[in-house]
Amino acid sequence: MPQSTVRPVDHDPQAPSLSVERLSVHFNGSEALRDVTFRLPAGQRLAVVGPNGAGKTTLFNVLAGAQRPHDGTVRIFGHPPGGDTCIAYVPQRSRIDPAFPASAAEVVMMGRIREIGPLRWPGRRDWQVVRGALDRVGLADQAGRPIGELSGGQQQRVFLAQALAQEAELILLDEPLTGLDFPSQQALFEILDNLRAAGVTELVATHDLNLAAERFDAVMLLNHRLVAFGRPADVLTRDHLVRAYGGHVHVLPEGDLLILTDTCCEGDEADA
């Protein structure tokens, strides 16, 4: 892990929010990512799609500054990762202990502790920010509930409120849609739409190709290497999907139906 002493850095306004060049990452002796290059302008929403173990989480870990690349460069608003608090990393649900003794408001407050600074306690203004953030994700009335008692969709929204309290400009969401019903997914996208309109860049790892096609500005198809990157319609082609998913794609003879049989998560089946 990199040493984490932070100085506030001025963003280069000309730089793209995310610029990755020839990124290679080794993980447990094998190559998790190989020669990945892409650029993402600010205020865009990118779907990161690929089979299990394709390196999606590894990519997020590198962008968040939690894992070092073996080769290549990553620039976030023109800076290397790990130096600034402008990235929020919304965790996969499995990363969080559902019995953790903290309320929704306290979890949101966690996003502000760097702002509050060491040896200080949250003040009135901080709690105002927290209330405002919970309000923006529609959970003002749930502020006092323990995080573990909220539904999966509400928990995701609490973490988005945390990112708001952190004043994040780039948000990484790892499988936020997995296990959510349709209304919860829609509620989440409504918040993400508002954030994007405010200039926040969003990277979302997902298995849901339908949502990737419909609700994202750009799609990255990943299988250790970058299979395709660009507008959803250009990326989600039969040819690309076969290359990314290999034997897990079944093409039905009639029509253009593709069926993915990637084994882990809900939302695996998709037509394109």
């Binding site: 892990m1 040493q3 984490s4 002493t5 932070v6 870990n61 968040a64 500054g65 939690a66 790990g82 130096g83 600034d84 608090t85 990235i87 929020a88 990393y89 965790p91 990363r95 969080i96 202990d97 019995a99 953790f100 003794p101 903290a102 309320s103 306290e106 979890v107 407050m109 966690m110 996003g111 502790i113 760097r114 509050i116 060491p118 040896l119 306690w121 949250p122 323990p146 945390q162 952190q166």
Partner: protein
């Protein structure tokens, strides 16, 4: 009524019982506060290992005639840092690495002690505590260490909270994750050392996690978990001492058994609450 009061007051007419009570109360209050983080971060095995790892320090201090706490503190802090470093820099799984260090240090401590005559008595004091042998200067030292640990937890409350909730969040907030982790390990060593005379190396773990685990069943916010845990720890200290005085049980195990009973009660209360809700 008067007989009842006399029954309650009698043990503490002896100064050594009063000193024992002071030491046990301090340990009972401080351990669960830090123990809340141990429970939340799943560090129970590590806490137990650390308690055994510091044994050679305790023994060396004992043989040199230093206060037990001083030598143990040095080894405790060194060992905490060493284990942290080993677990980060080795391909061996963390619990295995801890196990190797833990068993080796514990053996070294016993080996050092076994060179002395009367070794069985000394060993039992170190393993299970010697609350009634606490000297006035020990009480001061235990209280000082306990206060230091409490103040540090208060000072770094929100950083430790984030570290326990999600280390990756701590990282993206660019908190000094390693230094905070090391600080928590050092605090753990300090608290363990402060507890050795009360409950001994073998039972420190119980004071760290049992009241905190009981409190986690009854509360839903970390500050309350710490407060209730400290209450259960203090209650265990007092009840355990009475139990020890009136039934001739060894004091350390009596305190730990009381805490275990409190955990069992909390467990049942939680189940009933769930069924009612």
């Amino acid at each position: 009524m008067n007989a009842w009061l006399a029954w309650l007051a009698e043990p503490f007419t002896y100064p050594f019982m009063l000193r024992g009570l002071a030491a046990a109360l301090t340990v009972g209050v401080v351990c669960p506060v830090l123990g809340a983080y141990v429970v939340l971060r799943g560090m129970a095995f590590f806490g137990d290992a650390l308690a055994h790892i510091i044994l050679p320090g305790v023994v060396a201090a004992f043989l040199l005639g230093w206060p037990l706490v001083s030598g143990a503190l040095i080894v405790g802090v060194l060992a905490a840092l060493a284990v942290g470093a080993i677990s980060r820099r080795s391909t061996i799984k963390e619990d295995t690495a801890i196990g190797v260090v833990f068993a080796g240090c514990f053996a070294l401590g016993i080996a050092l002690l076994s060179s002395r005559r009367g070794y069985a008595v000394d060993l039992s004091h170190i393993l299970f505590g010697n609350l009634l042998g606490v000297s006035p200067s020990d009480v001061l030292l235990i209280a000082g260490l306990g206060l230091l640990a409490l103040l540090t937890v208060v000072a770094f409350y929100k950083e430790f909270l984030v570290l326990s909730f999600d280390p990756l969040l701590a990282l993206t907030l660019r908190l000094p994750v390693h230094r905070l982790q090391n600080l928590m390990l050092i605090l753990l060593a300090v608290v363990i050392v402060a507890s050795i005379q009360a409950v001994g190396v073998a039972l420190v773990l119980a004071m760290l996690i049992t009241p905190a685990a009981a409190a986690s069943l009854l509360t839903r916010r970390l500050p309350m978990m710490m407060l209730v845990g400290a209450g259960i720890g203090a209650l265990s200290a007092v009840v355990g001492l009475y139990l020890s005085y009136y039934t001739n049980l060894a004091s350390g195990p009596a305190i730990v058994l009381t805490a275990t009973a409190a955990f069992a009660v909390a467990f049942v209360v939680r189940r009933i609450r769930r069924r009612v809700a």
